[in-house]
């Protein structure tokens, strides 16, 4: 038998495309699910929530404290509740009843008047940094303006500094992710979800339907089957990329500071990584169920250890080592780098080659694990 035959590859490609077109589930998986995920995650993770419950602890009720409370309410981010004791406020923060506690120290009014720039302590529940990021920024911006109206004439517009300080104390999770990071990262996650699962099912479906035996009895080589089966899904992957990018830019206002062709080229490599991995799962699994389990087994670390959910820098060395091997880690960095920072190829090269290595190794494993007998 001859080597790689382009005609046989085309035959498999044609057959896969026909089957794909006729399977409404595949189309649903490819078009609907990414959009749902994007809106779900995008809004859930990227939203700018207002009216966050906030506790106020204050020993005095003066014009300054009233100004301060009014200013907080006017930002729209805070709904205030008074607390009588520090313990009460602390407990409420721990339970999650409030996300912030503003602690105005005793003698605040006197110290402001004396120009001593007293500190307000703002405790924030940082378990969900995205949720409080915008609100926190608003608090910090307050200190210059909140008391303006009621300050003694001599202290208004004084260049020396604001009349008080805000000390922000992020509790429970001191690191914070910024909201714009999420949507670029989602591109990688969404692509993985669909491409990995669909290819993982591709060979097992043949095996379960019994068509595998027939396919094997015909003169077609593993590489032709693999390429023919994978190629239509590369096309589908790109359709997803366009969908996700369009929504990311138009709905979520993700900036495009870098080169889109470069991004598409690198995403192609990422898709190849996923398809090769999915095909490997498909060849070593006996049933579609097993293949799906394997795909999910691979997706979880991709979500957790890639820096998508938790900051990469905050993970222990072993987790980072695993993370560095995952294509997801690199594509998330690349998407953020190209879209947000406008980086070129030279900047992202350190994240491109690990994906290339992964793609080559995964393809080799996929071909080696493809058995052209029924044994």
């Amino acid at each position: 038998m001859t080597g790689f035959s382009f005609r046989r590859f085309l035959a498999v490609l044609w057959k896969e495309t026909l089957q794909m077109r006729r399977d409404p589930a595949t189309i649903a998986l490819v078009v609907t699910i990414p959009l749902i995920q994007l809106f779900l995650f995008g809004y859930a993770l990227n939203s700018n929530p207002h009216h966050l419950p906030t506790g106020v602890l204050t020993a005095e009720h003066t014009r300054y404290t009233r100004d301060l409370e009014a200013a907080l309410i006017n930002t729209g981010y805070f709904d205030l509740h008074d607390f009588a004791s520090e313990k009460e406020a602390d407990d409420a923060l721990a339970r999650g009843d409030v996300l912030f506690v503003m602690n105005i120290p005793p003698g605040f009014t006197r110290d402001v008047d004396a120009g001593q720039q007293p500190s307000i302590l703002m405790d924030a529940d940082a378990t969900d940094p995205t949720a409080i990021a915008q609100a926190t920024a608003a608090v910090v911006a307050l200190n210059g303006t909140a008391l303006q109206r009621d300050l003694p004439i001599g202290m208004q517009n004084q260049p020396a500094g604001s009349p008080f300080q805000v000390t922000l104390h992020a509790r429970y999770n001191p690191s914070a992710i910024t909201a714009l990071n999420v949507v670029p990262g989602l591109i990688g996650v969404i692509l993985s979800f669909s491409t990995l699962v669909i290819t993982a099912l591709s060979m097992t479906r043949e095996r379960e339907a019994g068509t595998m035996e027939n396919l094997l009895s015909m003169p077609v080589r593993p590489l032709e089957v693999m390429m023919g089966k994978i190629t239509p899904y590369v096309g589908l992957g790109y359709i997803q990329v366009f969908l996700v990018l369009a929504v990311a830019v138009s709905v979520f206002g993700v900036p495009v500071n870098g080169s889109i062709p470069l991004l598409l080229a690198v995403l192609g490599l990422f898709i190849a990584c996923n398809l090769a991995l999915g095909f490997t799962f498909s060849t070593i699994s006996r049933t579609q169920m097993q293949a799906q389990q394997l795909a999910q087994f691979a997706l979880l670390p991709s979500m957790m250890l890639s820096g998508f959910i938790y900051p990469f820098a905050g993970m222990p060395l072993w987790a980072r080592t695993i993370g560095e091997m995952l294509p997801m880690t690199h594509i998330i960095r690349i998407c953020r780098a190209i879209l947000l920072k406008g980086n070129g190829f030279a900047d992202i090269a350190p994240d491109v080659w690990p994906m290339a290595v992964f793609a080559v190794v995964a393809t080799a494993v996929a071909i080696l694990s493809y058995r052209d007998t029924l044994d």
Partner: protein, 313 residues
């Protein structure tokens, strides 16, 4: 029972020796020798689990034998399995084409994998030849059993293989479709194709030029249908008349009686030992008017006899 020698002058399409295959601890094929001359229709018979499917899979390179070897169309079954696939048509026991493709698309896919010149023309000819043209645009999953088998056969012969391996091609298909299917097989054999076909139907076995019988993963009988019947040395008595159903009960299990089965109006009593059989029949209480007559053994008598042996083993 000895295997019948095949004249040396006829070239062999299949010539394998000592094939063995086990799955885990289960030995499925246990030293199988099989010779099939070119251009013959060879019936591949044996009970369920006797190793027929596994043997066929080894012949077309879908499974590697654990031991043994030989040639298929003159090519080594182990080393040249890729080349064998080009010249063999294998029809699987289970329908193994794509249900979500039409008949025509399935055939086109196969034609392209074999890289046949002018795919469209080949597929059109095949559709006409197999009378499938009316159903060309029907989804394969919506075909009835008989048409599915016909489509599968069409797909197997499109590349004009020299050897056709059919694994229970007519299982579950109605009598008319079975007859038409066999007419097609005969047409192909007359064009010089060698056919190895496994079946459980006796009428189909009788249509084969040669039958081979597998038991416990070994070939135990082969020859023409007449030779197989003759060499079994079975003695058969037929009892006719009212009340044979009662007689059959008392004969079953009597010494010398292998089987006592009613076929319509007649009770067939089969055994190897004529005197013992006669003694048993004479010693049984019979209603008046029962006639006893010795008749020719048939192929199904032989196979039931062989299946019985297998169960004893």
């Amino acid at each position: 029972m000895s295997a019948l020698a095949i004249p040396l002058a006829i070239p062999l399409a299949i010539d394998v020796h000592g094939l063995r295959k086990s799955f885990g601890k289960r030995d499925v094929v246990t030293g199988l020798d099989l010779q099939v001359p070119q251009g013959e229709i060879c019936g591949f018979l044996g009970g369920n689990g006797s190793g027929k499917t596994t043997t066929i899979r080894m012949l077309c390179g879908l499974m590697k034998p654990d031991a043994g070897g030989g040639t298929c169309l003159g090519m080594d079954v182990i080393k040249d399995s890729a080349d064998i696939r080009l010249q063999v048509g294998y029809m699987t026991q289970r329908f193994s084409f794509y249900g979500d493709l039409t008949v025509k698309e399935n055939l086109e896919f196969v034609a392209r994998l074999y890289q046949l010149p002018d795919t469209r023309a080949v597929v059109r000819d095949t559709l006409d030849r197999m009378s499938l043209a009316d159903r060309a645009d029907q989804m394969a999953q919506n075909l009835s059993g008989g048409w599915k088998q016909r489509m599968a056969l069409a797909a197997c012969v499109m590349h004009r293989p020299k050897l056709l391996l059919l694994d229970e091609p007519t299982a579950g298909v109605d009598a008319k479709a079975r007859r038409e299917f066999w007419d097609l097989i005969n047409d192909m054999a007359s064009e010089g194709m060698t056919v190895l076909v496994s079946t459980h139907y006796m009428d189909e076995a009788e249509r084969c030029k040669r039958v081979v019988y597998l038991s416990g993963g070994k070939l135990i009988v082969q020859g023409t249908a007449e030779e197989v019947v003759r060499n079994a040395h079975l003695v058969v008595f037929e009892l006719t008349g009212a009340g044979i159903d009662k007689v059959s009960k008392s004969l079953r299990g009597a010494p010398g009686v292998e089987s006592a089965t009613i076929f319509g109006q007649a009770l067939r009593v089969v055994g190897l030992d004529r005197p013992a059989l006669l003694t048993a029949i004479e010693g049984t209480e019979k209603p008046d008017g029962i006639a006893v007559e010795e008749v020719q053994a048939r192929l199904d008598d032989v196979f039931i006899h062989l299946l019985r042996d297998q169960d004893i083993v």
